[in-house]
Amino acid sequence: MSNADTLKRRSFGETARIDAWWLKPGLVFVGLTAFIAYATWAGMQGKHYFYDGGGAHLLSPFYSPLLYGQAHEPRLFAAELPSWWPSFLPFSAAILILAGPAGMRVTCYYYRGAYYKSFWADPVACGVGEPRKSYWGEHRIPLLLHNAHRYFFYVAGVYVFILFYDGLRALVYVNPDGSHSLGIGVGSIVLLLNACFLAGYTFGCHCHRHLLGGHLRIFAKAPVQHACYQCISMLNRRHMYWAWVSLVWVGFSDLYVRMCAMGVWTDWRIF
């Protein structure tokens, strides 16, 4: 635009807004920081992620699928840690798997918008001055790499099925005589809800909507894809809520299993 240089540049925080524009980005900042801090701490612990007291079978979602672990734990490989792992580095089974779901969240369209505002002030809120004059957006590397979102979605989608397996496995209790019986405890409900919330978030994402039907110009020739598009669009309309509910619940699920494993809480078996 020929006369763009006549437009005013505002300083950081400059605005005529009189509402509490800082509140929402502030809450997002606190919420995401709290989760990242807790997930990092819990992921680095390498213990108290599995509870089998009273015949229960509760595995923290931060450690699922459990690739390496103790002999009594539902590990996939018969070792406590991989042979290639450098001995001077502390090991936690969560390190090997957290990158998948974390990548999904970092590249998620909702979270991108949220953390650009809350952490990078780009912009801090709509109609409020920014701290930097230069701006690349997602036009160049590194933020251009967000276009890999669909690949993280594929990975995260697999995790959802694994977490459903964990939730269903938590319905099977080991009796004192070694036999198995079905039951429902608070822990199994927590893990099943976790899988449901994560499914709502993961499968309601924008790239899933695009891949299953949104890319089409003509729906009439693809009724199944149109039905998928409609279903995913229903989830997608509340994507932000799914994102937050699933984030809080996955953290709580780990906390629940951790508290039970530490003996602080008792997992109450309903029947």
Partner: protein, 247 residues
């Protein structure tokens, strides 16, 4: 009736500032009513663009208490009148005078986008057949009244003035309406990436928040376009598939 203070930006392309006016506010008034009242009582030369007073022409866009809104659709009863009301012109476009901005950049930008390119007519009489299911998605985009509030609040244009590199949310909606048009055969994906700067949008949804027609600009227009660009340029598996199948 209560007297309320209105701080209205007065000036032109050379500069200006807010001037205070007081006027009586009565039940049911909108901001545009107050501006007209001030114009009649104490500022006969106040320039303001308006037309339908019904939120359908998109003329009276302004910034009310710092938020991009239509003056005719902003009820005074929804504002904290005890603090006064500030009314500024849109910040993304150059001021012509007072509350009137020069929005011709938008018209020129629209010209840059490939026009509707329909397929060959389906019938001999030159008409087409479209299934109802294929018309639903683009109806939302056709509600746009071109008020340019989304352009005004978009920080890429408003704060970084990247008018030459980014077409803004309004024209992302326009491009999406064409890309999802069941009869259209054109592709604007390359232009979206290379000329229209879709990568500059960082999906902060300010445009969606201010749209008076409730168009989900980010979710239903910009993100689907970003995904189309990703299909074409950033998905190696899809690229390989296209090469193998020559589609």
């Amino acid at each position: 009736m209560t007297k309320t203070r209105f701080s209205i930006w007065r000036g032109d392309s050379h500069g200006g500032g807010r001037q205070d006016y007081e006027t009586e506010v009565t039940e049911g008034m909108v901001v545009l009513d107050a501006v007209h009242q001030i114009q009649a009582e104490s500022a006969n030369d106040l320039a303001v663009r308006w037309n339908c007073k019904a939120g359908k022409c998109g003329s009276c866009s302004a910034e009310i208490n710092g938020r991009s809104r239509l003056m005719c659709m902003t009820r005074l009863s929804d504002l904290p009148l005890e603090q006064g009301v500030t009314i500024d012109p849109m910040q993304t476009f150059p001021v012509l005078r007072d509350l009137v901005t020069d929005v011709k950049w938008n018209y020129a930008t629209k010209q840059r986008i490939q026009k509707f390119t329909p397929r060959t007519p389906d019938a001999e009489d030159g008409t087409w057949r479209i299934a109802t299911v294929d018309t639903e998605r683009v109806q939302e985009f056709r509600k746009c009244i071109e008020c340019y509030l989304c352009q005004d609040v978009c920080h890429v244009l408003r704060e970084h003035h990247l008018h030459d590199e980014f077409i803004g949310p309004r024209f992302m909606v326009y491009a999406a309406a064409l890309e999802m048009q069941p009869l259209d055969t054109g592709s604007r994906v390359k232009a979206l990436k290379e000329d229209f700067g879709i990568g500059y949008c960082n999906i902060t949804k300010c445009c969606t928040d201010v749209c008076p027609e409730g168009i989900k600009i980010t979710d239903n227009a910009i993100i689907p376009l970003k995904e189309r660009v990703a299909d074409e340029y950033y998905d190696p598996i899809k690229r390989l598939w296209r090469k193998l199948t020559k589609t």
